[in-house]
């Protein structure tokens, strides 16, 4: 992981020259978190899951086998969320149907295994390749379409795929999916610790790769695209290339997670797990709540969003008005909780936490809040919002988007733009860059 401050980190962290090269607190926190995840299965590995002290107090550590499996499942979901974040959080091309890529990866690998007996280790790369190809299929139109129109394409793509699956249900198993293919390396239900570590290793690998990419110059270009494509082109960078790259990378990573997932006891090549609208929505919620455009936030959000319903599932409390136990309405509760959270902190949990931590820290150091006031950058959500607004405005012919943008950009003078009418005539033509 590089520790540069360009790109998204800049918005998250106050880059104070005083901290110098020492490891910032958030990295320490992140590494501790990873270390904790790494040792989670150790107690159950040793067969010591609880200790009774003085014959009275029982301390339980570690997780049961079933809980290990659940966390393993959560790792895969976190990988989905991270893959969404690469393209949507960073470049601002909001995908409403990322399940498309998970399913391409998962179904390809599963079908190769089920139909042709290809070993999972060989089938998974094929799944990744097909998913990456799917990334090209969606990414190239994305070069022409903006804002809600792109989102419509992404929203509809998984539904087309699902319709095809239903139409050819003999091959694809229809609405309810295929049965489970072979497990990767034969690691099945009998070995939950290994299932856990396979998932954890892949999680860490994907996290590392995506952090590396997004913290490299490519990441800086991604966020610049989110902010202003024309400015990126004016810097001599081809936005189309980087956007397509982001889509393909995202699709490949999502496809990889999907392909490996189906070869574990916690995953199935089935629409409800890979392709359903619900999956795509949960991924968006996870990434936004965790903190869009940070990768780490998406990972944390993914873990929480996956495990929350699992937790709700164990709650036996019966909701009075609905007369239904919590365990049966977990998804309803999840949707309502998500709705509230999205409303309260659209910037994300991670961002909110970092901001609170930072404020505390600077208070303690006796620095004024002003030290941080200089970095009131816009969140990715705000940036994407801005792009959408211009796309919608252009579509609806509400005049040049530039006007709004410059108003936001605190332009001081009120002169009229030269040639605006000519531009406008062009821009009213549609939402696309036809040229």
């Amino acid at each position: 992981m590089s520790d540069d401050t360009l790109g998204e980190d800049a918005a998250v962290e106050q880059s104070s020259p005083a901290t110098g090269r020492s490891l910032p607190a958030r990295y320490v926190a992140g590494l501790i978190g990873l270390a904790l995840l790494a040792v989670l299965p150790v107690p159950s590995l040793l067969g010591v899951e609880s200790v009774t002290l003085f014959g009275t107090v029982t301390i339980t550590f570690g997780l049961s086998s079933y809980q290990l499996l659940q966390v393993a499942g959560a790792f895969y979901f976190a990988m989905f969320a991270m893959s969404w974040d690469v393209v949507s959080g960073y470049t601002g091309q909001i995908s409403f149907g990322h399940g498309f890529f998970f399913a391409l990866g998962g179904y390809t690998s599963a079908l190769l295994n089920l139909t042709y007996g290809v070993a999972p280790l060989a089938a998974i790369p094929a799944g990744v390749a097909v998913a990456a190809l799917g990334g090209v299929v969606i990414g190239v139109p994305a070069l022409r379409l903006r804002g809600p129109y792109l989102s419509l394409v992404t929203l509809v793509a998984p539904q087309v795929l699902l319709s095809v699956f239903i139409l050819f249900s003999g091959t694809f198993g229809g609405e309810l999916g295929l049965s489970s293919p072979d497990n990767l390396l034969g690691v099945g239900l009998g070995n939950p610790v290994l299932v856990y570590y396979i998932a954890f290793a892949l999680f860490v690998a994907i996290l590392a790769v995506l952090l590396a990419v997004t913290r490299s110059s490519a990441g800086a270009v991604f966020t610049a695209i989110r902010e202003d494509e024309d400015a990126v082109a004016a810097a001599g960078l081809n936005p189309a290339k980087f956007k397509t790259f982001a889509f393909v990378l995202s699709a490949a990573v999502g496809g990889l997670a999907g392909a490996v997932l189906v070869h574990t006891p916690v995953g199935n090549p089935q629409p409800s797990q890979l392709l359903a609208t619900q999956v795509s929505i949960e991924v968006i919620i996870a990434a936004i709540l965790g903190g869009m455009g940070t990768i780490v936030g998406a990972a944390i959000g993914g873990l929480i969003v996956y495990l929350l319903p699992e937790y709700l599932n164990t709650v036996e409390y019966v909701v009075p008005v609905l007369d239904a136990p919590v365990s049966e309405i977990d998804f309803l509760l999840f949707a309502v909780i998500a709705l509230v959270l999205l409303f309260v902190m659209p910037g994300g949990v991670l961002r909110a936490a970092l901001r609170i931590a930072r404020d505390r820290l600077s208070d303690r150091r006796g620095e004024g809040v002003a030290a941080d006031g200089g970095r009131r950058a816009r969140t990715p959500v705000e940036q994407v919002r801005e792009r959408w607004r211009s796309a919608v405005e252009r579509t609806l012919g509400r005049g040049p988007d530039r006007e709004r943008r410059t108003t936001d950009g605190r332009r001081s003078d009120g002169r009229r733009a030269d040639d605006r009418d000519a531009n406008r005539g062009h821009e009213n033509g549609g939402d696309t860059d036809e040229h």
Partner: protein, 375 residues
């Protein structure tokens, strides 16, 4: 216990409640081998992935001795490998796919922990439909039928049997269609049926049954309607569809009033007393499964899976849905419930003014078939 939406789906509720009733009876009677029986119900949401996760919760986490339930074939197939891996006895009460038994037959040692207490597997369901037509088409006046089958895993063997054998019954097959899973608008399908001139739509429907029958009735389509229609088996279905189900015919394991065995009516009455409604077929099967399990466990004096497997293979248990025996390991339908007259032989019933009247087999019949007045 794996049941879809046990608090609001009648099929799932019947599994959960039927088993609960059996467990209560067992415990009142001293449990199994003196030990109290505990029951744990998990919701599959009719979703293979969820079902699998819940199965793991039951077996990995709670370490149960036997699992039962599972309505959806796709859910069952998705847990078959886990059943093999966990080596825990599973007695299916709802899912009909013969692929499960095919796996037992092909790879006995691995999959022998799976038994299907009911319903009869999907090939036998198809056979049952053929047998019904063969016996009753004259009485019903069905000279030609349009076969409408929903496109799910469980209906594939049904379609295969119907394609193969329905033509031999002397009834003309005017049209045969597997329509898409999730179909909501049956207008186009019914137009085709009308154009084909069939006397009746001969159906196999579970997930898509309600819109199908409601649209048939409300649009007063000029053909009769019957076959295997799972929701129609539900005793409260007349109410749920506002009477649209009237004149519809379906196969069923039992009805609350039918004396399939001595145990049928008492069970249905007890169930109604306890839970305020009558069970659907999964309730009878789950109830039978728990009792059969208990009697075998008592007999072999063990709850070790391998002992139970051999015990069940030998067992002949008369429950509420018939006399339950299983095909042997060498049969193509290994560990499926035996479909045979005198053992498990489902009934056919028709909704008549809010009542489920048995019309076949004749010895159990409570009423004659009625043709819808608009046909």
């Amino acid at each position: 216990m794996l049941a879809p939406e046990p608090s609001d789906n009648p099929i799932g509720a019947s599994i959960a409640n039927g088993a609960q009733l059996a467990v209560d009876e067992l415990n009142a009677d001293g449990g199994i081998g003196g030990a109290d029986v505990e029951i744990s119900v998990k919701d599959t949401k009719e979703d293979p992935a969820t079902g699998r996760s819940r199965y793991q919760e039951l077996t990995v986490n709670e370490g149960v001795d036997v699992t039962t339930g599972v309505f959806t074939s796709e859910v069952l197939l998705n847990i078959m490998d886990d059943i093999a891996q966990q080596q825990t006895l599973h007695m299916t009460a709802g899912a009909a796919t013969p692929e499960a038994s095919a796996r037992v037959a092909e790879n006995y040692e691995q999959y022998k922990y799976h038994f299907r207490t009911g319903p009869t597997n999907a090939r036998h369901l198809g056979q049952n439909m053929v047998d019904f037509v063969e016996a009753k088409s004259g009485d019903l006046g069905w000279e030609s039928v349009a076969v409408l089958v929903e496109d799910y895993a469980w209906t594939e063997p049904v379609s295969a049997v119907l394609d193969e054998k329905l033509g031999d019954t002397g009834v003309e097959v005017a049209m045969s269609q597997r329509y898409a899973s999730g179909t909501e608008n049956f207008g186009p399908v019914y137009d085709e049926v009308e154009n084909s001139g069939a006397d009746a739509a001969f159906v196999a429907m579970a997930h898509t049954g309600t819109p199908a029958v409601v649209q048939w009735a409300s649009q007063q389509r000029p053909f009769e309607f019957g076959g295997i229609h799972v929701p129609m088996q539900l005793p409260s279905y007349y109410e749920a569809t506002d009477g649209a189900v009237n004149y519809g015919v379906t196969q069923n394991s039992a009805t609350p009033q039918s004396e399939v065995t001595d145990k049928t009516v008492p069970f249905a009455e007890n169930y109604n007393e306890e839970f305020g409604s009558y069970p659907v077929y999964t309730g009878y099967i789950a109830y039978d499964a728990v009792h059969q399990f208990a009697s075998v466990a008592e007999e072999v004096g063990s709850v070790a899976s391998d002992d139970l497997v051999s015990g069940l293979e030998e067992s002949s248990y008369t429950g509420t849905a018939g006399t339950i025996e299983y095909y042997g390991p060498d049969d193509q339908f290994a560990h499926d419930v035996v479909y045979e007259e005198g053992k498990v032989w489902p009934i056919f019933m028709q909704w008549q003014d809010g009542n489920q009247e048995v019309i076949y087999p004749d010895d159990l019949a409570t009423a004659d078939y009625q043709t819808p007045p608009w046909v």
